[in-house]
Subunit: 452 residues, 2 copies
Amino acid sequence: MENNGIEQILWDELQTLVTNERMESFRIKFLDMHPYDQALFFIEQPEEIRLRIYTYLSPEETADIMEHIDLDDIKPLFTEMDPRFAAMVIAEMATDDAVDILNELEKDVVVSLLTIMNDKNADEIRELLHYEEKTAGSIMTTEFVAIYQSKPVKDTMKYLKAEAPEAETIYYLYVIDEDKHLVGVVSLRDLIVAEGDIQIADLMSENVLSVSVAKNQEEVAQMIQDYDFMALPVVDFQNHLLGIITVDDILDVMEEEASKDYSKLAGVSDMDRPKDSALISAKKRLPWLVILLFLGILTASLIGQFERALEQVAVLAIFIPLIAGMAGNTGTQALAVAVRGLTTGDYGKQGKMKLMAREAITGLINGIVCGALITAIVYFWQDDFFLGLLVGLSIMSTLIIATLAGALVPIIMDRLNIDPAVASGPFITTINDIISILIYFGLATGFMQYLI
Amino acid sequence: MENNGIEQILWDELQTLVTNERMESFRIKFLDMHPYDQALFFIEQPEEIRLRIYTYLSPEETADIMEHIDLDDIKPLFTEMDPRFAAMVIAEMATDDAVDILNELEKDVVVSLLTIMNDKNADEIRELLHYEEKTAGSIMTTEFVAIYQSKPVKDTMKYLKAEAPEAETIYYLYVIDEDKHLVGVVSLRDLIVAEGDIQIADLMSENVLSVSVAKNQEEVAQMIQDYDFMALPVVDFQNHLLGIITVDDILDVMEEEASKDYSKLAGVSDMDRPKDSALISAKKRLPWLVILLFLGILTASLIGQFERALEQVAVLAIFIPLIAGMAGNTGTQALAVAVRGLTTGDYGKQGKMKLMAREAITGLINGIVCGALITAIVYFWQDDFFLGLLVGLSIMSTLIIATLAGALVPIIMDRLNIDPAVASGPFITTINDIISILIYFGLATGFMQYLI
């Protein structure tokens, strides 16, 4: 049956049970749900009830819930828990999720949690904590099953049955030699259909792709998507197998990166969350607005240079927003296309020159069409051919230059090894505002004798 | 070893082998690569060489390549192939990929391909072709293994060994009753560690989530992401199991949806592709630019209403782009935040009222800060307190209203069951241009006696 989210009647039932401290009945109904739904219910409870629910659940059951709670909400939960219980919960989690959570907590809380934890778990987590954020190392898990190339299939299956409950995935098995070098891969599917006494070395594919522990997470995501992998092994520079990255981790990376690109285009440094207060929202957006305010003042002072022209021909002012707006729009279009192309790696080395050439022609075509259109409209509306020609020529030149600028900025950033997505929409819009006003008033000054 | 993409030396070697018609050596080197890399090489070849490569490969080997080629490039390939060979290639593909490709071809080509194909394959594909685009039905595959609840584990394992090569995934096995109703799920992991004579009914989890065949693909993607599923079963309205959706299909959906949202924010109806000509690019962007041109004329004619004020106080014109620009920027910020929140379902039912309230306060805070700042700057720059006050008050009121407008438009669209991502950046920017100019010149008219 279709079922996404918790039905109201079940929610109310759970609420009544936990309020009346009916532990046993609550556990049965609660644990019967998917951990994501458990998390949905749990996170809506007041602290008092949350503290009660911890006492109802084992560390393992609590860990399942915590793995499905948004990282932005996680900090108060691990602060309100008894530290011993918190350490046990973290020990029960997949190491990659545990590391994500510890990265959200205060440094001294992390140290004390790791001290309480047993040494083996704590060491595994400490090791992962060292990897730089947004690298393959920071998103990989160390809970994988590695098998030896020298063993036969039947021994490997026996080993697998013992290891399966601990591992993040057993559907792809990475094969190592005696020195833990990655040498191959076998799918569980192949293992199941193989004869028992075949050696793993004869069954495995030696053609195993892997990523370096320092590789950027966005490139890892692209690779998993291109090659349709379920999992990808992570190695150090000597090709020792360190961990694996599974496709579900990549879903989160893709959402994160898409959200980042989207925010930049809109000029929001960090996306607001539904629970943010207005003050936090304002704080996130104000820096952008203030920068743009100052750029706007620059634009204003530029127009100020042409105040005499404006005094002579006030009608010039009417078309300022139209011309600046068109420059901003066409620049944002070109920017978005270039950023998408560059971040998804669709452009090769020569591709960037081709892109610029295409944008130049695209700007020219759009410039001619829009320029001719506006010349005709202004001519009939204001009954002034030279004004029409001025606006039309301005739109045409503006569209060509703004389109090129929109594509050029991310390409230059990419060349300088800066993520082109940093080139934000409002920034390019303001640059193009300035360019368009210079063109418009420059042409107007030239046309002045025909306009007065 | 790290290895993403094909090394130049291997590429050159393949090129030489295929040019010299060294079929056997080419096959060995070529088929040793991952199908994604094979596709990279293949798509760069001229038609003449592609036709030669088809003759070197079996339909199955060709199908592997075709599954990794971008859908936008697929049409010429299936048009240049011999129709019989094309039909055999399609029959070898996973049904969901086959359907994606057929959706790209001309209707009469599809009909003739399906006629050549054997009946069983053709029927499976025909059935999937009926589902509406962007629904669960259109992205599911029908190649899955369903197991019966009444069978014991050992019989099921035997059945699995026979079925494994055909199925898209065998890592989650969906359990059906005699009437093919979906009744449970078992992971291969659980099956491997279970005793042989246990019945599937006793091993399976009855708590199986599924989606209806008509569900929107974006919601399916969100669900797989939230619940960390590797696969999700698709059922009809009577809960019969029809197919499965695997997580790798979801990666493509996520990329598609992210790209769509991003394009809309930039005012590009359909993202350009690297291979698009300038003419195609211009065609994709022109409709937006022309609409915005006409909206811009509306703005211009609005300012035209205030031409007398402009003639009296030419300095008023200086601040038009600043005020319109700030309105556009703050509106795009609010729009982006609201669209992200609404499409990821982060806001509940009451959440939208809360969002509007927060945006109002955010707009107020940003308005007061930016308004005070600009009042001071204009006062010192132009040595005119009233002009400063006019610009400051305009910025303040503009930011409040533009922020609200940015959030309100997507919320209204969502209420009307229109995808809020359709509310594009340029559209909201132009609306806010108009609002801001009305406010500015409205206030200027009121202040006029102090400005002259």
